[in-house]
């Protein structure tokens, strides 16, 4: 619509008093439909089904996911605005935390919070006249397998992430090797593993060793979810990863800024993801500096 000249500035917004109101609970019940007959509710149950199947098919589980939860918490501790700022988490803390829906523990789940987030998009031409360095949308891809979790044969990949990422990278004219950091929709730790796996950073079952080198945390070679993400900053659907990628590209992230401040690569290219449903929809965006 920007291309067509229909719009000049598009505002994308999300807001929810999820923590302080009953609406999240209402949604859980609405979302369940007839699955509720068997006591199956919300996203945690659905992702637990997917994660369990993955544990059957290849090497994954708490020993992989602990790296994701702990690294994102480390990022949150560099972000004073993050809900989990000042609440460090060790592997031991993670592994001794309670199950919600096994195999997913409480720190495998995203946060529930009050708050809102918004971004504004315009043409690059207009963006150049504004005050911040533009976070340029270099490529976009979306793929929607759509099948509900109980009927899906792709709970362990490849999900819509693979095609969405291929489309986005190709549109941007870059490859995975050009990517400096990722902001991944992280409703659950397993979502981060599966998305990065589908993006081709590692093969099925190789996640544990890939993550184990401190890869995605501060100082790592592929920083992921540098605000703390939905696991440790706050949940705003796709706007948690998108807004953080924007702020990193703009260079406005202070203590958690990618580059010398965190002994990481300068963020020229960041991969950003968003999921919908339970592995039913995936969007990928290549955001960069030009």
């Amino acid at each position: 619509m920007l291309d067509a000249g229909l719009c000049r500035y598009v505002l994308i917004s999300y807001g929810h008093n999820a923590f302080s109101s009953a609406s999240l609970f209402t949604m859980l019940m609405d979302f369940a439909g007839d699955d509720a007959v068997f006591g199956h509710f919300g996203a945690t149950g659905g992702y637990a089904l997917a994660a369990r199947r993955a544990m059957h098919e290849f090497n994954t589980g708490p020993q992989t996911w602990k790296h994701i939860a702990v690294a994102q918490r480390a990022w949150a501790n560099l972000n004073p605005h993050a809900m989990m700022h000042g609440k460090p988490m060790s592997f031991g803390d993670y592994l001794s935390s309670k199950y919600v829906v096994e195999p997913l523990r409480l720190p495998d789940n995203c946060l529930v919070n009050d708050g809102g987030r918004a971004v504004i998009i315009t043409t690059l031409e207009r963006a150049r006249d504004l005050r911040h360095r533009p976070a340029v949308i270099l490529g976009l891809g979306q793929h929607n397998p759509s099948v509900q979790v109980t009927q899906s044969g792709t709970l362990t990949g490849s999900t819509g992430a693979r095609k969405a990422c291929e489309t986005a990278l190709s549109m941007a004219g870059v490859t995975r090797d050009d990517v400096d950091a990722c902001q991944i929709y992280d409703c659950f730790t397993y979502t981060v593993e599966l998305t990065l796996q589908d993006y081709g950073f590692f093969g099925p079952g190789e996640g544990e060793s890939w993550f184990s080198e401190g890869t995605i945390g501060p100082g790592g070679r592929m920083p992921v979810n540098t605000s703390g993400g939905q696991l440790s900053e706050a949940y705003y659907m796709g706007l948690t990863p998108l807004s953080e990628a924007t702020m990193q590209i703009m260079g406005r992230c202070k203590d958690r800024q990618l580059g010398p401040a965190t002994q990481t690569k300068e963020p020229s290219i960041i991969l950003v993801s968003d999921n919908g449903g339970i592995l039913q929809a995936h969007s990928c965006c290549v955001l960069g500096r030009i």
Binding site: D34, D35, V37, H40, L49, R52, R53, E102
Partner: protein, 135 residues
Amino acid sequence: MAYNKPLPRVNGDNQEFWEGCRNHELKFQQCASCGHIRFPASLVCPKCLCSDFQSIVSTGTGKVYTYAVYHVAFHQGFLEDLPYVVAVVELQEGPRLLTNIVGCSPEEVSCEMPVTVAWENVTPDISLPMFKPLI
């Protein structure tokens, strides 16, 4: 005590399935054109969009495709069941059902475990297809 868990919402699409359940039969639509057995019930076959079908009755046996163990009750009715197992069972005929695994402890459940249907009559009109280990 009155049944205090959610009940299925019977509608034009799923009526035949739930009527079958009342008679302890797992009934599915098989596409008259391509032979695909579909679930949930639908106006058209998702493989070929043909709307003609015949009804088939499943043997009621299959295997656990995946499962999850609930340690938190999101609904009051399930509080006493904790921890309980929600599973996706793949029937011999192909369709997958969301269900509960009963008749064993959560620790005994595994992916690919053979199971058979265990009917749970919860109201005079509704029987739920749950599954138990196939011995």
